[in-house]
Structures are given as C-alpha cells and as structure tokens.
Symmetry: C2
Subunit: 251 residues, 2 copies
C-alpha cells in the first residue's frame, strides 16, 4: 500500500544531517544548527507515486527533502498536466503554502522520499531570530525562480530534441551536486510520460525524440527509469551552458 508516514524517531538529527556532507552545500553555524533542531518537528517518508502536497490544500508544513526524487506539477481542468520542476535532496518545498494562503501546485514522489518537516507557523520566528536563515530561504526561493526561468525558455523556444537534451543535462547536473551520479552515470526513476509532461510534448513524440538521444549514446531506458550516460552530448545538443557552480544554502 502506498502512503505517507510520519516517523516518531529522528533518524537524521540536524547535527548529523546527511546533506551537509556535500561540498555543494553551505554548512550551518553552530547556533543555526541548534535553532534548526527546534524548528524541525519530525521526519516523513512518502512512497513512490504519492502526491504528498496537493494544490489548493492549506498545508501546515514546510519541508526539506533529505533523499529521493519528486516533482512539482499543475494540471488543467481537463487533465492536461505540466511538470514544473523536479525536486531533489536539499530542496525546500511548501514555501508558497506557508507564505500565501495555499499551494498552487502539487508534489508527487517518484521514489521513496524522506522529508524533514518544519512547522509553518514557526517561520515568522525564524525570520525574527535568525536573519541568516531567512536570507537562505529567500536565496532558495530565488533559485527556484531562476530554474523556472530556464525551463520556460526551454519549453517556449527550444525544439523537441534540444528541450529533451536540456532536461537531462539539467537533471544530471543537479543530481551530481548531491552525490547521486556514480561512474559518471545517473539513474532517474522517470517514466516517459513524465518527460512528455515536462517538455510539453505528446508521449509518442517524446518517445521518438528520446530514441534519438539514445542513438547518440546520451541515455538509455532501463528497468523502471532512465539512465543518463553522456552529459557532454546533452550539453552539446541543447546548447545549454550548464548551472552556475555556486555553493548553495539549505535549511
């Protein structure tokens, strides 16, 4: 049975947060860590396929992803779906729901996802007592906007092949920075339907486009997902410059 479960026990106390091991992340000061320990109210595991944040819901929480893959999406009334972005470890989600009345998008897990849970009504207190952390949250919001800008450029102006290449290059670089790339290869638990809904294409055309990338050796469809094999080819086809290599905060 697929569900979302809260765990009473803390497998990952903030001082031992698995995220801080990556060079990509800015480490917290000691006092920040102490504060965050109190800000955090627990952990949550969402099974693959669970929509654990729903559009329109008034969620009382804010999350940081500790591990796993998820995606943010919106749908039109007749069911057409657009995937807005993917969610990887270190990403903060549910901020919209905390600041505005409600979330305007949903989030679904693509693999088991471990979440660090924060109480949203403690957010004003965070802003009052830890300006440095408030700054980090704003930084993360701004980064999400930057990613969306790039995705929108891609969906609006790139061809199907360029768009697909960009998508996998983008995912590859993000995953690499959180240690998910092994042997220069990356497994992504995606269905082709996800790719189609990300690129704004039909599944049939997506399939044909992906075949071309596969023929170039850029990727391979395996068991229940996709293996990204050649970042250089993807960057070349898409004409994308790659992500700026700046250390980033997390909460």
């Amino acid at each position: 049975m697929k569900t979302t479960t809260a765990s009473a026990v803390r497998q990952f106390p903030c001082e031992k947060c698995p995220l801080q091991e990556f060079a990509h992340f800015q480490r917290h000061e000691k006092d920040e860590l102490e504060f965050l320990s109190g800000f955090k109210t627990g952990e949550l595991v969402a099974d693959a396929g669970t929509t654990f944040l729903v559009e329109g819901a008034n969620s009382a929480h804010l999350f940081t992803v500790l591990s796993g893959w998820a995606f943010r999406y919106k749908t039109l009334e007749d069911g057409r779906r657009q995937i807005l972005n993917y969610v990887l470890p270190g990403d903060l989600i549910g901020l919209q729901g905390s600041l505005m009345k409600e979330m305007q998008h949903s989030i679904e897990a693509m693999s088991p996802v471990i979440l660090c849970v924060f109480q949203r009504d403690k957010l004003p207190n965070l802003f009052r007592t830890f300006p440095s952390l408030a700054y980090d949250i704003t930084w993360l919001a701004s980064r999400e906007e930057q990613m969306l800008d790039e995705i929108l450029l891609s969906v609006g102006r790139r061809t199907a092949l360029e768009r697909a290449a960009y998508l996998f290059a983008f995912i590859f670089q993000r995953a690499k920075s959180v240690g998910m790339v092994k042997d220069d290869k990356l497994f992504v638990p995606l269905k082709q339907q996800h790719v189609a809904d990300t690129l704004g294409l039909s599944i049939v055309h997506t399939n044909k486009t992906l075949k071309k990338l596969a023929a170039r050796g850029a990727l391979r469809w395996v068991d229940r997902g996709c293996e990204v094999l050649d970042e250089a080819v993807l960057l070349d086809i898409s004409g994308w410059q790659g992500l700026p290599k700046v250390p980033r905060p997390f909460i």
Copy 2:
C-alpha cells in the same frame, strides 16, 4: 535618444509612495517606512525600449517599479527570445542579482518606467533589522515563482488560443490591481512580437490567433499597443480561474 537616467531629486519620498494608495498593497508600519527611506538610494527613469537590467551583469541595485511597463526575458545564443513575465508597478526586480552572483535574465522597459532604487549591499542589514520586510521580500519572490508556474503550465499545455487568452486575462488582472484599468478597459504598450515571444509562437501564427480574440471582442490592436476589452471572454476561452485576491506586500 533612449537612455536610462538617475534623478537626484526624489519625486516620490516613501511616505508619499504612490503605490500605497492601492487597496491591493499592504501598507507599511511607520518604523518600516523610516527604514525604507534610508534603504532607498534614489530614483531612476528608463525610457521605453531600454534594457535596463542585462543578463550576466553584476548589478549593484535592487528596484521596485513605481510606474510603467517592462518585461523580463532570456534569449538563446541564436537569438530566439522567451519573455518570462511582465513587470508592473509594485514589482521587485533584481533580487536574483542581489542574492546570487549575477542576473540570469534581462529586463526591458515597454514604456517609460520609474524605478525606486535600493543598494543591494544593504540587503543583509534589512534582514537583520526588519524581519517583517525580509518576510515581504520572500513573499514577493514566492509570488514570482507562482506566476511562473502558471505561465509554464500555459506555454507547455494550452493551445495557442487558450494561451493568448490566458496571457491577456493575466495582464488585465494584474494591471487592474494597480489601478491601470479604466472603464473596464486596459491599454498595454505591447507589440505582437512581444506576444509571440511570450507564448512561444511565431509572429505569423500569433497574428492569426490574436485576430480570433479580436473577432470575439476580447481585444483590439490600437495605435502603439493593444487594448484589452473583455476580461470575461478571455477567462472563458482560457479556462483560467484568475489570480487569488490576496493583499500583497511591496518594498
């Protein structure tokens, strides 16, 4: 000659900020206003057609638009352009440039634009001394993300006609909340090329699509721009629910 000029004189001291007259905006507390007066370093006027924020540049400023129209955009190396969003009075711009190393998009004025200028290196001080204002900035960043989500859904999954209808309904509602709609009509200083680059379509097809909207009485092309005439028709064609009617902060 088109240029961007800084004015030594303050036409709009914060206590008399023209934006605060709109019910749509949350008013500032007295102490916040005093702080903002010091945070503000001047005013700037950008002529129509000026790109006053350039991708890649390391701008030392942060701006709030006091009046006028502008748009944010990105381009691919071969010149293909995607307009990401429009900028209206009350919008905060240049935040990305302040938080990360540099801006990843450009901004161009579509009409004369009056900007309120803030010094970016004073931002950490704002976070330290006025958590409420820091919260407002985060709110604004989150709102921009929310708008982008909706635009991406539109470009990715709506048909040309729905997309165009959505765009004008969206612009109409935003403009309405800052008092730019008179007699239920709105003039927008847009070229059809802007519309094409926003919707991810060619100019030819954009022209044909706009004709359909004009035939339905939704809008009309006039002198140097477009007049939006019927919000209801636009909402109907697009199937869009409209913007949440929540009061919003500004800086």
